[in-house]
Symmetry: C2
């Protein structure tokens, strides 16, 4: 499996708007096992995204999906920066096949 952990700094006051864009655009992505959008309770402008995919290829393919392309286009202006980007190899656990 292929995992991702990302820390996104939103432009001030836009976190909830970005969260809903991300949630809208990521509902139906083949090979996506988990895509969690979370707030950082300690920082009003930060979202954490944690993902698990069947493999890296399915994640890569998702970036071409119309809904994802749309979310990227709508979300980009609300993103001030990507502060952390970690690639992982999920081994197992609760919530995984």
């Amino acid at each position: 499996m292929h995992g991702l952990i990302g820390k996104i700094r939103c432009t001030p006051g836009q976190r909830d708007a970005l969260a809903s864009i991300l949630l809208d655009g990521t509902a139906a992505m083949p090979g996506c096992i988990a895509y969690v959008v979370a707030r950082d309770p300690g920082d009003d402008d930060v979202l954490w995204i944690t993902e698990v995919w069947t493999d890296a290829a399915s994640h890569q393919a998702s970036l071409s999906l119309p809904a994802v392309q749309d979310a990227i286009a709508r979300g980009r202006p609300l993103i001030a920066g990507f502060e952390q980007h970690v690639v992982t190899e999920p081994l197992g656990g609760v919530g995984l096949p």
Copy 2:
């Protein structure tokens, strides 16, 4: 919901042993929506644990479960340090109720 992202540095050569201890001990935890054990492909001694719980109380209660207590006891000697610990508020996404 209550989320956690943790980066664990294992004692050298013990990553897989720690991963299996964590996976053993975390299979049946009330309120646990996701508990993912993942390797860091860029660092042989690092595990990433990403978690989603219905609430902080269910996570806290899990620490008293016999299987979790056992995993903590068996796993502690294989842990060199906790390098990152992030608390999040999951809003939604794939893999969540």
